[in-house]
Structures are given as structure tokens and as C-alpha cells.
Symmetry: C2
Subunit: 248 residues, 2 copies
């Protein structure tokens, strides 16, 4: 019988070249680690489909993948134990569920939530350095919140897509754009029906520009309308980003 | 003029063999990293005195050290910047202050606060693995809080000292023993006038035994009275421990 299994996966992306398999490059990716572990358990080649192709250095608290297999040998309730005993410490299976055959981790996803974490303090904390971007300069958080609210809704977000991306349809819907600040921890959470290449990191760079007073919060609207990548901020570094949740 | 400078230091202890210098062993310690950085700035040998000799793998959010120097060349307000530009990412100077000549980081300390961090969930989070001890089994937190309250006050804590320690006077005063739990994060904070070798880690192991139901909370009193290390729990691993604050 063909089973379709959905896995919820957390990982520390520090030592990986992103999620997606990069054949022949010799670079280790999350997808390869998951596939080699599943293939060991199944004693045959298993391929996974990931909900989000996180970049090199990006983390996940709730990435979702699925795989299909005939005669899959491990009971669903035991899959996380079997896999976690084989996986390296920086990748963990949080949950395994059997799903209907049509379920596709990427195409069935209704919404994704990304979190960008900033350590907002003059001196970086060594205990946060792997998972937080360090912003030592003074940010006006209230102004950043006003700008973030302008991201809500359905827009053409071409201005927040890295050059060279091949996606044609750059219209996306943002359901939630929330900034919370408990000094020195500044968190930006974005929930949307999809995200363009580097979109969260470029939005973070743009919001930081606004927080620093280089751009006004009202200009967020003009930047979006311009569809011009050059008007948005720099791409914030990958280690502050985490794929928090995928909803179906 | 002789200056006496107090530094507040944070570090990720993962890659260090503890705080204290270990001459001739080739092992890198926090003390050596601080001294070599200060010596570069002073262009002569500087030695530091640390408030707490944290073990290999133990972290700090608020370790305190002091050093004395004639003709020290860096203005006090700039010391943290000068040092942080030279230090590795996993060690940071949070604050530098000039103090009176009698100030001694270890002997002048009135109280120290240690935090032990536990990730209490069936599956370990890869994003917490470096700074949290993983306890996948069910702990009864309320019972642990009752047991922790029995640590308060002045007691002979010999039962919580690792074998082989040379300290004769094992009487210490615990001012605060607080357990907070926001699932899955369980934090134990202990503030005392001093701590024996491995004391916080052995207390953590003992409290986990109580939380697991292997020992009753009332037995905490008997364990302390017994002065018998064998009745206390195992020494919890170093990576969950952090020196949070030293008060003077």
C-alpha cells in the first residue's frame, strides 16, 4: 500500500547549504539528510517534497515535508523516534502523520509563517549570535510597526524579490505582519500565502532602514508600488530567519 | 597610575575548557582569551581575576572579572568596544567600569546567580540544543518547586559537592531558588553567597529526580542533612548552566 507521510521538521541551518538538494555539488542540505535517513529506514530510495526551500543558514521550527512510499516499514507513531535516533543533533522530526494521497507539502500549503529575529543592543550576546541578527543602532520600533502594517493584504511584492529570481507572478497576500519587542529581542513575524525569493529578508532590511530613520514609514507604500528592488533595503542575513509554521 | 577595571563578560562556553587558565595543557579557556586580548591592548602581560570558575561547556551572561594595570592605555568608556573588536564572537564584554583598588572579582562578590535551562519536551529542539539540557520525560513541576524551596537559607551543602573538591567549609546560603516554566522551557535560578564545585548541576539532577517521582520532595531535606553526595542526583550536563549575575 502506498503511504503518504507528512513530517514536521525543525533544524538549525547554520551548517547546511539550505533545504534543497544540490546534486553533484558536495554541499550538504537538509533535504539530503532527511532523504538519506528515510532511505536507510525504508532500505530503498525515498524522496521528500519540502514546503519551503529555505536558504543556506536559514533555520526552521516548523518546516513541513512529505514523502510517498510503498511498503513503508515504520509505524507512523514511531517515525519521529526512528528518524531522530539517526538524524544529526541539528535536525529533528517533531511530528509524523499519515495524510491523504493528494497531500503535497508545497502545493497544498495555505499559509507560511516566517520569523526574523533581531538582537537590538549595542553589544551582541554570544548566546544569541547563531540565531539573531545583531542591530546595535537605535531603531524606532513604533515607526517600524506602522510600516509593517502597510505590508498587509494582497500586493505585487516584486520590490522584495532578489534579482535573478525566475518567478513570474509576484503577487502575494500577507495575512499578518507583527513586530514584537521585549528588549533586546525584536521579532518580526510574517504570515502569507507565499513568499518570493529572499522576501522576508529584504522586508527586514527595509523595515530596519525605516527604524533607523533613513526611510519614512509612509514610503513603504511607495516602495511596494514602485516594484523596484533598488528602493527596498538590503537583504538581512540568513541566520536571523526561521520558517516557523506551514498551514494546510 | 594603577587602575583597577571591572569587566562584565558574556560567553558561549561550548568551545572552551572552562573559565580558568590551564597552563601547559594547550586547552583554550575564557581567562586566556580575555588575558591575551587585554595584553594586546596594554602591550604587556595583563592577568584577570574571575568571579566564578565556570566549568568546561558552561556559559555566562554576567561573569565578572577585574584586572589591575599601570598606564592602562584605553579610556574606560571605550574598553568594551576595543575588546569586542578583538575577541572571538563567542565572548563579549558587556560593560567596563573603573573600581576602587580593593575590588576583587572573586573575594568582593556578595552573591552569584546561576541559571540552569531545561528543554522539557519529548523531542529536543535543534535551535535550543546548545544552551538547554533535554529532559524528555514528564516532570512534576509543582513538586520540584516545593523541593527547591527547601534549599533556601544557610545549610551545609556537602551533599551537592562533587567528589574530589578540596573546599573544607561547605556551608553556603541560598537566597533564591526559583523554578519558572513556560512550556517547554524550564528554568531554575539559584542565587547564593557562593556555590560548591558542581553544586548547581547536582541540585538540578536532584530536582529532576524529584520531578520524575524517583525521590519525594520531602527527601530534599534528608539529602541535605545526610551530607552524602551519593544520595543526591547525577550532575546535570554543563551546557544547560549559565552564570547569570554577580553582585557586589
Amino acid at each position: 500500500m502506498l503511504k503518504n507521510i507528512k513530517l514536521t521538521v525543525a533544524y538549525d541551518g547554520t551548517n547546511y547549504h539550505g533545504f534543497q538538494e544540490q546534486r553533484g555539488t558536495g554541499l550538504i542540505t537538509i533535504q539530503e539528510v532527511l532523504e538519506s535517513t528515510l532511505s536507510r529506514l525504508a532500505r530503498k530510495r525515498i524522496q521528500v517534497i519540502g514546503a519551503g526551500r529555505t536558504d543556506a543558514g536559514v533555520h526552521a521550527q516548523g518546516q513541513v515535508v512529505n514523502f510517498r512510499s510503498e511498503n513503508w516499514p515504520v509505524p507512523t507513531a514511531k517515525i519521529h523516534l526512528a528518524m531522530n535516533s539517526l538524524l544529526p543533533d541539528d535536525v529533528a522530526i517533531l511530528k509524523a502523520e499519515e495524510v491523504e494521497s493528494e497531500f503535497h507539502a508545497r502545493f497544498s500549503a495555505k499559509a507560511k509563517t516566517y520569523r526574523y529575529s533581531i538582537y537590538h543592543h549595542p553589544v551582541m550576546s554570544p548566546l544569541h549570535r547563531l540565531y539573531y541578527y545583531h542591530e546595535p543602532r537605535k531603531l524606532d520600533i513604533d515607526i517600524m510597526k506602522k510600516a509593517a502594517a502597510l505590508l498587509l493584504g494582497t500586493h505585487d511584492f516584486k520590490c522584495f524579490q532578489s534579482q535573478g529570481a525566475t518567478v513570474k507572478d509576484t503577487i502575494r497576500t500577507i495575512y499578518r505582519a507583527e513586530i514584537t519587542y521585549e528588549p533586546p529581542i525584536l521579532l518580526l513575524e510574517l504570515k502569507g500565502n507565499g513568499f518570493l525569493y529572499n522576501m522576508v529578508r529584504i522586508i527586514t532590511g527595509t523595515l530596519c532602514n525605516i527604524g533607523l530613520g533613513r526611510t519614512t514609514w509612509q514610503q513603504m507604500e511607495e516602495i511596494i508600488k514602485s516594484k523596484n528592488r533598488a528602493l527596498a533595503g538590503v537583504t538581512a542575513p540568513p541566520h536571523g530567519l526561521s520558517l516557523k509554521e506551514v498551514e494546510y
